[in-house]
């Protein structure tokens, strides 16, 4: 379905592109939000990416690769949003009630805060690698391809970013253990 719509859109069919955009928009939004952690910035990035994709669509050689191609454009749109707008206000979200200290692999409020803080300390490029790897579940070689960076760079970014994220959780675990002992 994608390929047919891409072909039509490539010939200037705005209706086809609109349909295409609605098929891939939610996933783009999910990716952009996770990179930027701000819904407004993410919407702007997706909008920019879709318009850019329309403008450059004729350069796409293989219609089947529309979505990976779009994700690369989206990633760069996220970079631009992050660099040009420095408002990193914390997003307001509804957090489900749960225990402060999880006993399994459920995310707790503390975990989320620690990971939020760790993520915000990472560069936007490192975040993008994390999102494509952890959220989309892509192997690192495909992450490199999709973002358009060398494999070594992708590995390096993932290594550094994952370590930072894990370290934030481990630091939290140490703090919690200490507090529990003191109590």
């Amino acid at each position: 379905v994608h390929a047919t719509l891409v072909d039509q859109a490539r010939r200037g069919d705005a209706e086809a592109f609109d349909s295409l955009a609605r098929m891939v928009g939610d996933r783009c939004m999910a990716i952009a939000f996770r990179i930027l952690r701000d819904a407004d910035l993410a919407e702007d990035a997706v909008q920019t990416a879709l318009i850019t994709a329309w403008r450059e669509l004729r350069s796409l050689r293989n219609a089947d690769l529309f979505e990976p191609w779009l994700h690369r454009i989206l990633t760069h749109a996220c970079y631009a949003e992050a660099r040009h707008r420095t408002r990193w206000a914390a997003g307001i979200r509804v957090i489900p009630a749960e225990s402060v200290h999880g006993l399994d692999n459920t995310l707790t409020v503390d975990d989320r805060d620690q990971l939020d803080r760790a993520l915000r300390r990472l560069t936007i490029e490192q975040r993008a690698v994390l999102v494509f790897h952890y959220y989309l579940g892509l192997p690192i070689s495909e992450v490199a391809d999709r973002i358009g960076i060398p494999l070594g760079t992708a590995k390096s970014r993932l290594h550094h970013a994952s370590r930072a994220m894990r370290a934030s959780l481990e630091a939290d675990a140490r703090t919690s253990t200490t507090q529990e002992r003191m109590a």
């Binding site: 350069s59 690369r72 454009i73 760069h76 660099r83 490029e125 060398p150 070594g152």
Partner: protein
């Protein structure tokens, strides 16, 4: 929280949360914009640039007006204006400007260059997002400090610039010295854009009398500095555990580096690695060997690595050991990996690992690409957080000599800084 919880699962769970729906008004806005946006003709595979989402037409209009005035009064910068493939003219003239094809940004470039010749106020014509750490090199004077006397520019439309970006090569003259720089502008730009890596094109971002001007880089928290110039592109300093340089390819069979998304593939590389690992389970272990000589000997004695005997050399006033390694393509090699199966960032052989990867117990097994490694091993001064630093140059045999030659001035400029 219990210590037994799996951090990777928690990170996965963290990324599962969040907004998953694009609101309808965004689709409507996109639809409205594309109705008014013409698709670009397919001139070739595009690269993906850093996009700007800025809009300041007033500023551009004002700059254009200022530029028009500059042309009229004949000051400073003038557009020499040859189109794609045209030869640049060293002599600017009002008549050349009048007859040459012009872009919407001519006024902006004129105003920018006029300010540079005047020695003040050029920054106002730069894109608001153009916040490069080192700014624009040689903005108002040459390396020797000579002030610019005149300037000219040409549009380099011969390049397949994507996303409506226009590129300009500007030329500033100070006596016998000519400084050339590459700038970009797009439909949404608020000014001219300079990229430290020049977007990785064949044109150096800055050159002086034809020689690319080197940029200084600081890595490993200030412990290591060096300089690199076009055709190298370096990763952002202090961002990644293994700084990486990529060599812009050359040759008649090489597509222009202004081409599309695959432009990074197959580029030769240079890495700086602190306390390099070779293999073994897990990441984050200590150095493989106590010093460079021991590491070199260990590499040399491993029959799988095809290592030459280490040779003591002096590079940039510092002692190092140099040796070549080559593992035949397709050879199964094992290197250390983290718990997710990704190669350790400080793995010496990561650079020559390709294809699919099998992971088990901290070991990742893959196939050698067959590329050649030139390895420099430095014993770093005491007081730094590392004991050995490796410089790794990677290229296939056919391009190896070029990569090594291009890497030489970079390696020569390496300096260690003890706090």
């Amino acid at each position: 929280m219990t210590a037994s919880r799996d951090p990777d699962r928690l990170i996965h769970a963290y990324f599962e949360e969040g907004v998953n729906e694009l609101p309808d008004p965004v689709y409507d806005a996109v639809r409205a914009r594309i109705e008014q946006t013409r698709q670009r003709a397919d001139l070739g595979p595009w690269r993906t640039p850093t996009m700007r989402n800025l809009s300041n037409p007033l500023k551009i209009a004002l700059a254009a007006a200022a530029g028009a005035l500059v042309v009229i009064v004949g000051l400073g910068a003038l557009h020499t204006g040859p189109g794609p493939g045209a030869s640049p003219s060293a002599t600017a003239s009002a008549s050349a400007s009048a007859s040459a094809p012009s872009s919407a940004f001519d006024g902006l470039v004129n105003a920018f260059l006029t300010a540079r010749v005047a020695g003040d106020g050029a920054e106002q014509y730069l894109d608001a997002g153009n916040t490069t750490a080192d700014g624009i090199p040689l903005l108002y004077a040459t390396t020797s400090g000579a002030r610019y006397e005149r300037a000219e520019f040409e549009q380099v439309l011969g390049k397949a610039w994507p996303y409506g970006w226009t590129a300009f090569k500007v030329r500033l003259f100070a006596g016998d010295t000519v400084v050339e720089q590459l700038f970009f502008a797009g439909p949404d730009s608020s000014g001219l854009n300079y990229q430290v890596d020049g977007f990785g094109t064949e044109i150096p971002p800055t050159s002086e009398n034809g020689q690319p001007v080197a940029t200084s880089f600081v890595y490993f928290g200030g412990s290591v500095t060096f300089k690199a110039a076009h055709p190298w592109i370096l990763s952002a300093p202090n961002t990644y555990p293994t700084p990486e340089g990529r060599l812009i390819p050359e040759g008649p069979d090489v597509p222009p580096t202004t081409d599309g998304g695959q432009r990074h593939e197959g580029w030769d590389r240079l890495y700086l690695i602190a306390d390099p690992e070779l293999g073994g389970a897990g990441c984050g272990r200590g150095p493989l060997s106590g010093d460079a000589a021991a590491l070199a000997q260990s590499l040399r004695s491993n029959p799988d690595l095809g290592a030459t005997a280490p040779l003591a050399v002096t590079v940039g006033g510092q002692q190092a050991l140099v040796m070549d390694l080559v593992i035949p393509a397709g050879t199964s090699i094992s290197v250390a990996a983290n718990e997710g199966g990704d190669l350790c960032a400080d793995g010496l052989l990561n650079a020559v690992t390709g294809g699919s990867m099998a992971y088990a117990s901290g070991i990742a097994t893959s196939q050698a690409t067959g590329e050649k490694i030139r390895l420099y091993l430095f014993d770093v001064p005491a007081g730094l957080s590392m004991r050995i630093m490796a410089v790794v140059v990677v290229a296939p045999e056919a391009r190896f000599q070029r990569a090594v030659d291009e890497a030489a001035p970079v390696i020569d400029s390496i300096e260690f800084h003890v706090p």
